[in-house]
Amino acid sequence: MTDTLTPVLTANWDQPDSFTLAGYSRTGGYKALPKALAMEPDDVIATVKNSVLRGRGGAGFPTGMKWSFIPQNDGKPHYLTVNADESEPGTCKDIPLMMANPHVLIEGIIITCYAIRASHAFIYVRGEVLHVIRRLQYAVAQAYEAGYLGKDILGTGFDLDLVVHAGAGAYICGEETALLTSLEGYRGLPRNRPPFPAVEGLYASPTVINNVESISSVPSIIANGPTWFSGLGTEKSKGYGIFSLSGHVKHPGQYEAPLGITLRELIDLAGGMLRPGHPLKFWTPGGSSTPLLTREHLDIPLDFEGVGAAGSMLGTRALQLFDTTTCVLRAALRWTEFYQHESCGKCTPCREGTYWLVRAVERLESGKGSDEDLETILDVGNNIVGRAFCALGDAAPVPISSAIKYFRDEIIQHQKHGGCPFDPAASTAWAV
């Protein structure tokens, strides 16, 4: 039977030099690289396909399959772009991963580029994390010095250049086509799909875009084999992943476990909820874009299928936990404001819809709302979802619509109470 926690990507984070080439190499790093370079590129793709690794950035698309969409012998340059723009509210796994273990990402990048025949790769990292950017720059420089990057890597004739590219504060750039537009030096607006990036991505050339954790999982799959990876997790959600607990829990932080662990198990591991007498009220399974769940859902398996069956999405395994001191409307309003703030303005449903959603949710929160506002919110939401240009718009109504689904009575209480019945001071980290 598999252990409860299975540290792989996090296994060396407690080493004082885990972020250095020496530290990473001492704990088995850069062992998968020569193995991969001795394989045919197509066999590397097949290995990752057979592991059934699904994208760790939220959508869960099979990584190997994404790679296999890159046309070969097309005479065009191919690119790998790592999506390190981690900005989804609640999501906090890639940032500590790149701070503590940037070389596992770099080793994954080299293997991936070899497989998809790319000779130029980019790490598009959000700009607001200076020390992570320092660590990435340092690790890339060390990898060049060691001959893992640059010309004729390990004498195989394979060349690769890797650039650390800092974003500049725009959540939309986590959307893969907006990321590409931004990396090309423009405003980060999403593009139509098709054509998909695998065919026309960066500079209209075939491009793979993968999340940090997806690419970082590749070395362990090459080193240990696809059946090792697929032997972990559940039937359709294979492998391990980092689960990030935050909010009202005793020991928030990173827990790396096979997919399928439950929130009840994770809360137990984290020492229970923060305060006695204040149990869990609502939570996000994978960031603010995934519908809220409640204490009814403590025992669902946290895999793609289990969370989907409960009416939400696994997303980025960003488990934000809120206890009974928290006003769900206050939480939903703040997330709704976030989507309004981050809407790029390209399409009307999202640009206008997020604005009007905020107005209606504000009215409810201030106690001046009416039942009509509830209907307006659901109606505006229905007019954004499926009509917006990209997933940001689809996500915008999610927090408030799921809050209405589970907490309609509490929301109506705001009207009767003439404002929020909760004391915000009671839900702070320092409240007793």
Partner: protein, 265 residues
């Protein structure tokens, strides 16, 4: 003010290095904007003209990009940009209170402190920075900075100050204004200035990468627990799991998850 000849020469050399990283020069626009921001503390008209000249595009094209991204300032920034995360988790864990108290403290006027839970200050919409009278510190509201397990979080010049309280945040601002060194929780032992930070964002390291811890305490909770229980990924021992180097006396164990009877529901 237009750049001096010496400055231009220096900036042009840096710009050439930046554009050289990319298959197409236009990709260099974001780092070039950081470069000019590192020179002046903000993206000025002269800075935009410089970027336009380097890339052979119009100033309007540069402005269109510079105004899209929130990390570019359009008026001189303070030496220390203090950002309080007011996205949901941090806000609820106390970020709203920290922001409300700091707003009055930085401005030197207590008027802001009645902002009950941040909403009185307008939610997440942009209201511009609140500057201290000496211009050393500016306060702004930030969206999620990917450190939710350290909530509430304050960033200074994009370095992490984890697990803040209203008192610790006030002390932080006071030290910055007094010119005392403060060390980020996960970062170098000395905080760099706003201009220096922008130079790193442009891709020029400051040699401080090895400073600070590999990971903060919350990043390590799962690993620590796994080591205590002897949990590990099966068969990955040879390549990716190294308990000996960690100095831990980890015994393989069949220990079950700690089934506490703590209330979790």
């Amino acid at each position: 003010m237009p750049f001096s000849e010496d400055t231009l020469t220096r900036l042009k050399a840096d710009a050439a290095e930046i554009t050289g990283r990319y298959p197409r020069a236009r990709s260099a626009l974001l780092p070039l904007l950081y470069l000019v921001q590192s020179e002046e503390g903000y993206v000025s008209d002269d800075g935009m003209a410089f970027c336009a000249e380097v890339l052979g595009i119009t100033q309007t094209e540069v402005r269109g990009v510079a105004t899209f991204y929130t990390m570019y300032k359009h008026e001189p920034a303070a030496e220390y940009q203090v950002g309080v995360c007011i996205n949901t988790t941090c806000a609820i864990m106390g970020g709203d209170q920290i922001y409300a108290e700091l707003a009055g403290h930085v401005a030197g006027a207590p008027g802001h402190e009645d902002a009950e839970h941040g909403d009185a200050l307008g939610g997440t919409s942009d209201h511009g920075d609140i500057k201290s009278p000496d211009g050393k510190v500016a306060l702004e509201r930030l969206e999620c900075n990917a450190a939710c397990d350290y909530a509430p979080v304050v960033m200074v010049n994009w370095e992490f100050f984890d697990n803040q309280t209203p008192a610790s945040a006030r002390e932080l601002v006071d030290k910055l204004r007094a010119g005392e060194n403060v060390a980020p929780t996960r970062g170098p032992s000395r905080l760099c200035t706003w201009k220096q930070a922008n130079r790193i964002l442009a891709g020029f390291g400051d040699g401080q990468a090895a400073d600070g811890p590999s990971a903060g305490p919350a990043s390590l909770v799962g690993l620590k627990l796994a080591k205590e229980h002897g949990w590990r990924a099966p068969g990955a021992g040879e390549s990716h799991h190294d308990s000996e180097a960690a100095g831990g006396s980890v015994e393989p164990s069949s220990a079950q998850p700690p089934r506490s009877d703590k209330e979790t529901s």
